[in-house]
């Protein structure tokens, strides 16, 4: 457990030192969610209808932006190899890095969502379900992004292809996350999709690190 | 025969579906053949270039 904590803490500290880089996904998120009402329609009712989808898709796209920090920086300066040579199992290393990434990149995005949701005229009562669904869906999202980053870690310009790999796999998260949020919006029970999101998260966190570790081993050799 | 081709008025749907499927199968047949021929040609070129006499890398001393 202490290895997990140490690696996670180190990644958080590194991210803290480059806060301007960490701000990029947040700014992207704000800009994209601002562009949609300009492009679609400022009508409050219509905005409420599209708001759920727009916010979810924007969260997905913005999370992709910060994935470089997951493995590439460490692969470039050799610390990834050192981590893999250490007695700490790769799965633990991977989980620690994913946890740090989620904390520093995705949690701030989720924190911004209620504010932006208000700009989409979404009722206050729907916000807890939306945030809850995001909290349940984003661990799986982090695992998928980490998988994409690990598969392309040895590529010089892997950035563009990661989107191609990861985004189709996030479709189920999008479907059930927006369904849960829609239920919350219309005061219907959202337990079903939320449970499913939780199940995805459990599955991804349990098995994802194995695949990610294998991908890192291939990428670094 | 005309009744067969008309397919009860839904000819467009039935024949386009069968047509697309046929096209997909034919495309895959062609693709397999093309990649095979291509690979053989490249292997031939590779083999003849490695058989070509190479200039000696050591210069003769006069």
């Amino acid at each position: 457990m202490s290895a997990f904590g140490a690696i996670a803490r180190r990644d958080v500290q590194v991210a803290m030192r480059r806060l301007s880089e960490a701000a990029n996904p947040l700014l992207f998120f704000v800009i994209v969610t601002t562009l949609f009402p300009l492009a679609l329609s400022p009508n409050a009712d219509e905005l409420r209808e599209v708001g759920v989808g727009v916010l979810w898709v924007s969260t997905l796209l913005s999370s992709l932006l910060a994935m470089e920090g997951l493995f590439r920086a460490d692969a470039d300066d050799g610390s990834l190899e050192q981590l893999m040579l250490s007695p700490v199992p790769i799965s633990v290393t991977v989980l620690a890095k994913i946890a740090a990434h989620w904390l520093m990149t995705i949690l701030p995005l989720i924190a911004l969502v209620p504010v932006l949701a208000l700009s989409y005229s979404m009722p206050l009562a729907a916000l807890p379900i939306m945030v809850g669904a995001l909290v349940l869906a984003t661990p799986t999202l982090s695992v998928l992004i980490a998988l994409g980053a690990a598969l392309t870690v040895s590529l010089r310009r892997g950035g563009t292809i990661v989107g191609l790999l990861v985004l189709p796999l996030t479709a189920p998260l999008l479907i059930f996350g927006t369904r849960a949020t829609d239920f919350g919006l219309h005061d219907e029970p959202a337990a079903g999709p939320l449970y499913l999101l939780a199940a995805f998260a459990a599955f991804a966190l349990a098995l994802g690190p194995l695949a990610i570790g294998a991908a890192l081993r291939v990428g670094v050799e | 025969m005309m009744e067969f081709l008309r397919m009860g008025g839904e000819a467009a749907y039935v024949w386009s579906a069968y047509g697309i499927t046929l096209a997909v199968v034919l495309f895959n047949v062609w693709w397999a053949r093309w990649t095979h021929q291509n690979a053989l040609e490249r292997a031939r070129a590779f083999s003849s270039e490695s058989r070509a006499p190479r200039k000696p890398t050591v210069r003769q001393v006069e």
């Binding site: 998988l147 598969l151 392309t152 040895s154 590529l155 892997g158 292809i161 191609l164 790999l165 189709p168 796999l169 479709a171 479907i175 695949a211 294998a214 991908a215 291939v218 990428g219 | 067969f4 397919m7 009860g8 008025g9 839904e10 749907y13 039935v14 386009s16 579906a17 069968y18 697309i20 499927t21 997909v24 199968v25 495309f27 895959n28 047949v29 693709w31 397999a32 053949r33 990649t35 095979h36 021929q37 291509n38 690979a39 053989l40 490249r42 292997a43 031939r44 590779f46 083999s47 490695s50």
Partner: protein, 250 residues
């Protein structure tokens, strides 16, 4: 434990190249015969449906092509996994060959499904139908596999990295199959792949099954056919390939 000789032979590229070469004409003949017989039976012999009229005849194409697309993915994932774990290059060759076949068959399944959906469900596409969505995801998985391979210059690395992607994605295949049981959707429940009697009329069952056999044989025909090109490509600098191409020149 001594492994049987054929086991080792299956890892030998020249052996598999020769074997595939001998099997391909037979598989091709069987596939063509089955396809022609099945298509004729389905189009001309089987009676029109009580509900759907003539357009139901797409039932002799769409489920079969979709089934083959899922089988293609499993073949790709299993062989990529075998290649990854046991470092057998031939296994990766099989995976690479299966990918474009699978992708085109998946696209065909989606297209024939859309064409069938318009007169029967009233719409070409239904975003909330889980089977359509997960089959589309399958198409993306095939394309991602090929795209990821293309990004790597070193073929070995490309093989191993894309193998991980292939294996991770295989979880989609059972999801496609069970999606109609788990969720309410436009797709009806399974009428064939279930444990009791098939709920389809017998005059329609025969061409249905013939087409399943036809497309399955067709898939393996295409796979072995494409595998030969892939083997030559990978083994370009070996003696047996040099002899092969020189022999052809003579």
């Amino acid at each position: 434990m001594r492994l049987p000789r054929w086991f080792h032979l299956l890892g030998s590229p020249p052996f598999v190249y020769g074997l595939a070469g001998r099997l391909v004409p037979w598989l091709g003949a069987i596939a063509v015969i089955l396809l022609v017989v099945g298509a004729y039976w389905g189009l001309a012999v089987a009676p029109p449906d009580r509900v759907q009229g003539e357009v139901y005849r797409i039932i002799f194409l769409h489920p079969q092509v979709a089934y083959v697309s899922m089988m293609a993915y499993v073949v790709m994932a299993v062989s990529a996994g075998i290649g990854f774990i046991w470092r057998i290059k031939l296994a990766h060759a099989v995976a690479v060959t299966a990918a474009p076949i699978g992708a085109t068959f998946t696209a065909c399944a989606l297209a024939t499904g859309a064409i069938w959906g318009r007169p029967t469900w009233g719409t070409y596409w239904q975003w909330t139908d889980p089977r359509i969505m997960f089959e589309t995801l399958l198409l993306f998985l095939f394309l991602s596999y090929l795209a990821l391979r293309a990004a790597f210059e070193d073929r070995d690395k490309a093989d191993r990295v894309s193998a991980i992607l292939a294996v991770v994605g295989v979880v989609n295949v059972p999801i496609i199959h069970y999606s109609v049981i788990w969720w309410n959707s436009l797709h009806q429940g399974p009428s064939f792949m279930k444990l009791d009697k098939p709920s389809i009329a017998p005059e329609m069952l025969t061409p249905f099954l013939i087409m399943i056999a036809a497309f399955t044989v067709c898939f393996y025909w295409l796979l072995l056919n494409g595998l030969r090109g892939q083997i030559v490509e990978r083994e370009r600098d070996t003696r047996w390939v040099k002899q092969l191409v020189e022999g052809r020149e003579a």
